[in-house]
């Protein structure tokens, strides 16, 4: 049962990856304008036809389309994602360097947002209709309604510039050149972007947890627990929380995928050299190989999150033998 389900998941993941690659391949061929011309344009004002031809040969663009596709697909699996136009190094290398920095923002932001979202979401759902619940719910709705990029701009202006509390961008201070990278210094630089990402993410987790808690709070076993004479806190902690958390496992993985999106705006505004800023730059100069790499890495990220959720789920919910797919 377990094995079959996981196999199914792996097959879908594999298919998803292939489709992502295929989309990029199609884009590459369908794109208005010419990939090589653009590449040369980026460097030089003109793209002489003979040079374009030579490049086409180097990139194998003069071979039959099917052959190109197969080569492209195989290359994608081999981790050969091409060269970035802007950085002139293999795409995977660029992404590898940036991934670390994105994770430095994403991990604390996600963990904090998840914990906080679950905590206040659970409280809010448990105390449904109370003043605190309504206040929390409305403030979350408001935060959610503010466009994240605008929020990031405002946070930058207020906290970094007017209040002068944090650096204006980058991830280390100039001192790092002599002393090396100091984790505390990085943390100081990360505060504002993490805060923004946290705000961006916490509302989602909160909302889901609250709904989940609302469902759970009405369950019969909660009444049973109460009938046993357990106090409210114990019921919340022992009986409600664990059950309300179950749907969260899957939903948090979705939130994670969404965070990558948020990081595009946040990293750009805070000059944080992660994947988000890389995406922004790649978009600005239409660096297709790099964008493809980012899309593929995002896909892999989601796949990994899904598989992780699949593996975690049966651990927390005894009812689910991986495989009850409903």
């Amino acid at each position: 049962m377990n094995g079959i389900y996981l196999l199914k998941r792996l097959i879908t993941s594999f298919a998803a990856f292939c489709i992502a690659v295929t989309i990029m391949f199609a884009l590459l061929r369908l794109m208005p304008g010419d990939y090589i011309t653009m590449y040369l344009e980026a460097i030089y004002r003109y793209a002489p036809p003979d040079v374009v031809e030579a490049f086409n040969h180097v990139y194998g663009l003069d071979r039959p389309i099917l052959e190109q596709y197969v080569i492209y697909l195989l290359d994608a699996f081999r981790g050969n994602w091409g060269y970035s136009f802007i950085y002139k190094v293999p795409v995977l290398t660029v992404i590898g360097e940036r991934l670390v920095w994105t994770l430095i923002l994403l991990l604390p932001a996600t963990i904090l947002a998840t914990l906080a979202g679950i905590g206040i979401g659970a409280y809010s759902g448990w105390r449904r209709g109370s003043k605190t619940d309504i206040a929390l719910l409305n403030s979350m709705i408001i935060i959610r309604a503010i466009p994240s990029y605008w929020l990031a701009l405002m946070i930058l202006i207020i906290f970094a510039y007017y209040l002068n509390l944090f650096p204006l961008g980058g991830y280390v201070d100039t001192g790092a050149l002599t002393t090396g990278i100091d984790p505390l210094d990085v943390a100081n630089h990360a505060v504002l972007p993490v805060l923004t990402l946290f705000l961006f993410s916490v509302t989602g987790t909160y909302y889901l947890m609250r709904s989940s808690m609302l469902m759970t709070a009405g369950e019969d076993y909660i009444t049973t627990a109460r009938a046993k004479g357990l106090d409210e806190l114990m019921i919340l902690r022992k009986h409600a929380l664990k059950n309300a958390m179950l749907p969260m496992v899957t939903l948090i993985t979705f939130e994670c995928a969404g965070m990558i999106t948020g990081s595009i705006f946040v990293e750009t505004i805070f000059s944080w050299p992660g994947l988000g800023m890389l995406t922004y730059k790649a978009l600005a100069v239409r660096d297709l190989p790099l964008l493809q790499g980012i899309l593929l890495i995002d896909t892999l990220f989601v796949i990994a999150a899904n598989i992780a959720a699949d593996l975690i789920y049966p651990l927390v919910d005894p009812r689910v033998q991986v495989g009850d797919d409903a």
Binding site: I43, V89, A160, L177, T178, I181, T268
Partner: protein, 604 residues
């Protein structure tokens, strides 16, 4: 080395004993006459002051001493816009060779910004002086003798020859490996061979007459000399990642934090005048506004934006305390309305001429803001091209709607009215409609949109030409777009409009085209003639003639040029106006400025 310092300091102490009391002024501590140089006398005064009244702190005294002895002191933090401007810009290396504008590497010569209307001037870099044969077929460069690479290897003429050979061998599109095409190799295209008669002399033999070879070498960021001992074994510049950055420049590579910071430090063994600043740190801010905030806050000392700060921002910074603005006349971009001469209605010269009289440059400049200068000359910018501008062609494109209407009428266009709006009917009787693609090189600071907004008022509102702005198209299709549309905008960064040689832009290239699809036989012939003559008088004559043809044929309408603005912490560094150069001149700039506040020493 240290011995020399001690000696100098002892001299200072001796002077100190003889000095009399003069109060220290603002600016560089100790500097009393405002020349930003602390003379030994001034220093002595300062030291005395320090001892008697304690007016200067020990740090300030140290700063004054460093300035006086011309010893590097303090840290300068420069903001850049984008990590590709940080020192380890591998992207430059595999596209263009080692970067000449990185403070680390140097070329043979660099260019000085000419005085308005004056002649061009060059400055030796690794070449002390240079000369050409009368027919400009041979150029001889005499190199500086005391230059050494940052790793101690002496710099010789072999390095120069190696640079030529490296470009020759790797500038070839058939070279193996992706991205191995060094575009700067075009600079050496005309070189037949390089000879090294001795260690400090290099002779370039040209394929054809090259009266402007130094200009070619200094164009853009300029071409830097490769360290032969490092690059000798590297076949594929695209796969080599240089981590040592061994150059000959005034600053040597220090360290880097990827994507955000890099540092260079003053090179002890520099062959020229040593910089006053000990360290230059480049800090990346992706956002120009963040740069400005950082400057205001004092996190950085110098910002320049990507093509200079926008005029509005420079204006806003002008009165901020502790901040100074420097302006480089026409140092930003120059913009033009360009025609595609083989697309109707731009095929009709009268139409092009008519439109040239319907560009309200003053109004565009008013929209753009301070530092925008209407261009009334033909293609060449007076601030850059100096005496090469043909005065007879000045003002031929002046704003004159009546003249525009006359020109149109002459070519068979018919200006009618429909629903109270003017409509221009072409010679074929159909209403004239022009599609203008936005983006491209004129999109910085939305200049293209500003131009089109003004053009719409005149072209649509007065001449009855319907204008359709196409959705912004990306760079890859921009060239296709402009080849299909009659009118587009172009912006030229740097010093494109600076030399008559650059008028070859309008020549029908051997590949059969040019940017404007302009094809004038006389013009093509004159350019060929220009390129084969070294006689200055003849060249000037041809240049003037070329400009007359352009004024008549109007393949493009120059609109305005933009001054470049840069902002700096005037309370920390002085000497910014000393010798501002274009292009690779930043190296020179950072060697010239002096710390003015002890604070900058404390950071290092």
């Amino acid at each position: 080395m240290t011995g020399r310092y001690i000696q100098k300091i002892l001299v200072c102490c001796a002077v100190l004993l003889l000095a009399c009391c003069v109060p220290a002024a603002a600016g560089i501590p100790g500097d009393t006459d405002g020349d930003t140089v602390v003379s030994e006398k001034e220093l002595a005064t300062a030291i005395l002051d320090h001892l008697t009244a304690g007016r200067l702190s020990a740090d300030e005294l140290s700063l004054a001493a460093h300035n006086s002895l011309h010893l590097p002191y303090g840290q300068l933090v420069v903001a850049v816009a984008g990590d590709r401007y940080l020192i380890p810009a591998t992207s430059y290396i595999d596209q263009k060779g080692v970067p000449a504008d990185s403070l680390i590497y140097e070329g043979l010569v660099t260019k000085l910004r000419p005085k308005e209307g004056g002649p061009k001037e060059y400055l030796g870099w690794l070449a002390e002086r240079w000369e050409s044969s009368d027919d400009a077929m041979t150029w001889t460069f005499y190199l500086v003798r005391n230059a050494a690479w940052h790793d101690g290897t002496p710099f010789t003429s072999a390095d120069v020859r190696f640079t030529y050979e490296y470009f020759r061998d790797h500038g070839n599109p058939d070279a193996p490996g992706a991205g191995a095409y060094l575009v700067n190799s075009a600079i050496f295209k005309n070189v037949a061979s390089v000879e090294c008669p001795d260690d400090y002399t290099v002779v370039f033999h040209m394929k054809s007459c090259a009266p402007l070879f130094p200009e070619t070498l200094a164009t853009g960021p300029g071409i830097a000399v490769f360290p032969a001992h490092i690059w000798r074994d590297i076949d594929l510049p695209s796969t080599y990642i240089d981590t040592a950055h061994i150059g000959t420049g005034p600053f040597a590579y220090g360290s880097t934090i990827p994507g955000t910071l890099s540092k260079v430090t003053a090179y002890e063994g520099y062959h020229g005048e040593k910089p006053y600043v000990r360290e230059v740190v480049t800090k990346n801010y992706e956002d120009e506004d963040a740069q400005i905030l950082a400057l205001r806050r004092g996190d950085v000392d110098f910002i320049s934006g990507e093509f200079g700060l926008s005029p509005r921002k420079a204006e806003a910074l002008k009165d901020a305390p502790g901040i100074g603005i420097c302006r480089i006349p026409s140092g930003g971009q120059a913009f033009e309305v360009a025609f595609t001469s083989d697309v109707y209605p731009a095929t009709i010269p009268e139409f092009r001429r008519a439109l040239s009289h319907a560009v309200n440059r003053e109004r565009v400049c008013w929209l753009v803001g301070e530092g925008a200068r209407p261009t009334e000359t033909v293609f060449l910018l007076p601030a850059l091209a100096g005496d090469q501008v043909n005065p007879a062609t000045n003002g031929l494109f002046s704003y004159d709607i009546a003249e525009a209407k006359r020109q149109l009428a002459r070519a068979g266009f018919n200006l009618t009215e429909e629903n109270g709006r003017p409509v221009l009917l072409g010679p074929d009787g159909k209403p004239v409609e022009i599609t203008i693609p936005l983006a491209g090189k004129a999109s910085t600071n939305a200049v293209d949109q500003k131009i089109v907004a003004v053009l719409k008022e005149d072209w649509e509102g007065k001449l009855g030409i319907r204008i359709v702005e196409t959705p912004q198209v990306d760079d890859s299709v921009y060239l296709d777009w402009i080849a299909k549309t009659a009118v587009h905008f172009d912006g030229m960064p740097g010093r494109w409009h600076e030399d008559i040689d650059r008028l070859d832009n309008f020549q029908r290239s051997p590949l059969g085209e040019n940017y404007y699809h302009f094809d004038n036989e006389t013009f093509n012939g004159l350019i060929t003639e220009l390129k084969s003559t070294a006689d200055p008088d003849k060249r000037e004559e041809i240049g003037f003639e070329l400009q007359e043809i352009l004024a008549e044929e109007v393949p493009c309408i120059p609109v305005f040029s933009q001054d470049a603005f840069m902002a700096y912490r005037s309370d920390r560094f002085v000497g910014w106006d000393a010798a501002l150069l274009g292009g690779g001149g930043n190296i020179r700039l950072f060697s010239e400025i002096r710390p003015a506040s002890a604070e900058v020493g404390l950071r290092a």
